[in-house]
Amino acid sequence: MTQTDPRFHVPAPHARPGDTPDFSHIEVPPAGEAKRPEPTVAAHETRDLATGLVRVLDHNHQAVGEWDPKLDAEPLREGLKHMVLTRVYDDRMLKLQRQGKMSFYMKSTGEEAVAVAAAMALDKGDMVFPSYRQQGILFARGRDIVDMMCHCISNSRDNLKGRQLPVHYTWAEGNFFSISGNLTTQFPQAVGYAMACQYKGESQIAASWIGEGSTAEGDFHGALVLASTYKAPVILNVVNNQWAISTFQGIAGGQAETFALKGQGYGLATLRIDGNDFLAVYAATQWAAERARAGLGATVIESYTYRADAHSTSDDPSGYRPKGEEAKWPLGDPIERLKQHLIGLGEWDEERHAALEKELDELVIKSYKQAESFGTLHDGPLSPVESIFEDVYAEPDWRLRRQRQDLGV
């Protein structure tokens, strides 16, 4: 049987393995071009912002335009540090996974700004409902690295008692909700949480992140419906990193102009931003948080970025996209761009950067040693076996008590 023209339309990406990476179809508006309305603006007046691209850092790495959050050098350096740490950590964990130290890992390479800048623009008290690719939030919020690793290697100190896959962190103290393996389920949950914050009379808000592929799920719609109906103080982030495992964004996006634009159909505020631009992510999150705290409801933010590495350690992108595509991504690398910006400001230099990388790499290595001292998945010690019967209910019922006995633990 020979291949014929498809009888219905099936979207395909611009380049496949063997092709030359091609992003010529992506329009990159100049930084600074987008207008920044007051956060109190009517939702439908943010329509242009759903199809444009909020960018602050220009090609010379200078912050330009109305969206420049005008941060001091200190928080910029802090942001840079969190992003570098995220990357260093990811790289190290990948190596460790390859060595069999953990069952699975997921990197966020190329998307560090999406998580780190957003976390810094939020209050620490705001509750986040992330997907599995926002580990940057944890660094920005100061989670102990050893603790993070103990989770990833499921050892005796894993705060999730070995119950979750690596990178499916929970950190209640840090207002970091449980990451689900099921896509998009957290999106409407975040809206409920945000409503409960209002109910309790607190100024806390909620924020959630999903990938662009995950917008196809029914729960995406459910979240936007709830947010629209109850005007909930929530930020609904869509991280458009162009890929959902092997399927490019067009399989979820179809003929839609942008993912942000969907929010307009619900009367929500909408922003589409350069996700590799730390300042744009920061400014957009700040704007949306201000709007939410003012009782004006939700903002849908599409962060336009690129998944620069494999989907997970179970994935090999060379099967579905050209090698080296990440290097051609027209919005560059978020760490490099913030670094150059700081250098341009005279607030940073290559030496300090190299030193920072080295310091953080050492920290990560040292942390891993420490983490490993509490065990690894492969060699133990793990949480006690009987812990598998705990926390199913507040108290185990007769079935679980008997089953524990049956297992002899």
Partner: protein, 337 residues
């Protein structure tokens, strides 16, 4: 004490719970201003305000997810799914999320949500207003499953469910809302007024989750039932003058194996029942566990009285519904075996 039907007693449970704990809130499709298509939430919005009893968009998954998020923040949401047939769009949020938050966070977050939903047939609802999907939820670790059979239990169990630290799926047999039902559709409708379980305290009380009740003592056969079929089983035993011990299960997860086993060990014969289609229904779990537990006491195979392995038909509803005759057949079978 007051005379209440099951709608009133459930309403009273919500009222008491909301009065007592400002974190208790109630919502669902048509469940706010109008008070629910069966009126279980009637009057709550007027009394407690728009944000404690409100209408939700027609999206059962979102309703459940909203409840989960709210519970994570410390509220005690009671979500209504208009008919149990419409719980399936929500089942991912229940199976993959609600049931596991405590487990997967090792107790850092808990989500004590109650999902209330009317179930069962007998009101000519056809295949999309008649389902008894309880067995689906009994398979889900982390969820408690309750189905009361009368106004008194309904209230005590609903308050217990709301106060439970665990998520609960709470089934309300809609055929029992307005009166007991012995399975004979040709008789005049009965009301709860003359039934002793229609006597309901107006104030707060709870019944223990996980406790069954022997609603009729007997020596020849044990019948395990829940919801509507409790009344049908009683009628069958009465009609045939059988010395049957009848257990109203009330809680399906965790079910009260001790009460069941004690009874079966005494009678040596057992019938288990459910309104849902036969294959893989909750009666299968009961039969499997009872034969394991009471094997040497059993003098006959456990019989299952169930709906058929078909959708719930509309016109032939009563040919589907496991009525008294089907109980009698099963009882005869186990007695004569």
């Amino acid at each position: 004490m007051a005379k209440m039907n099951m709608i009133q007693s459930l309403n009273s449970a919500l009222d008491n719970a909301m009065e007592k704990d400002p974190n208790v809130i109630s919502f669902g499709e048509d469940a706010g201003y109008f008070g629910g298509v069966f009126r279980v939430t009637a009057g709550l919005q007027e009394k407690y305000g728009l944000d404690r009893s409100f209408d939700a968009p027609i999206n059962e998954a979102a309703i459940t997810a909203m409840a989960i998020g709210m519970a994570a923040k410390g509220l005690r949401p009671v979500a209504e799914i208009q008919f149990a047939d419409y719980i399936f769009p929500a089942i991912d949020q229940i199976v993959s999320e609600l049931s596991r938050i405590r487990y997967r966070t090792a107790g850092q977050f808990t989500t004590p949500v109650v999902v209330r939903t009317p179930c069962g047939g007998g009101i000519r609802g056809g295949q999309t207003h008649s389902m008894s999907p309880e067995a689906f939820f009994t398979q889900v670790p982390g969820i408690q499953v309750i189905m009361p059979s009368n106004p008194y239990d309904a209230k005590g169990l609903l308050i217990a469910a709301i106060e439970s630290p665990d998520p609960v799926v709470f089934f309300e047999p809609k055929r029992l809302y307005n009166g007991p039902f012995d399975g004979d559709p040709t008789k005049a409708l009965e009301t709860w007024a003359k039934h002793e379980k229609g006597e309901v305290p107006e104030g707060h009380y709870t019944l223990p989750i996980g406790k069954a009740e022997v609603v009729r003592e007997g020596n020849d056969v044990t019948i395990v039932a829940y919801g509507t079929l409790v009344h049908v089983a009683l009628a069958a035993a009465e009609r045939e003058g059988i010395d049957a011990e009848i257990i109203d299960l009330k809680t399906l997860v965790p079910y009260d194996i001790d009460t069941i086993a004690a009874s079966v060990n005494k009678t040596g014969r057992c019938v288990v029942s459910q309104e849902a289609p036969r294959t893989s229904g909750f009666a299968a779990e009961l039969a499997a566990q009872i034969q394991e537990e009471c094997f040497y006491a059993l003098e006959a195979p456990i019989q299952r009285v169930t709906g058929w392995d078909t959708p719930y038909p509309h016109a032939h509803e009563w040919a589907y519904f496991p009525g008294p005759q089907r109980f009698i057949n099963a009882i005869r079978e186990v007695l004569e075996a």
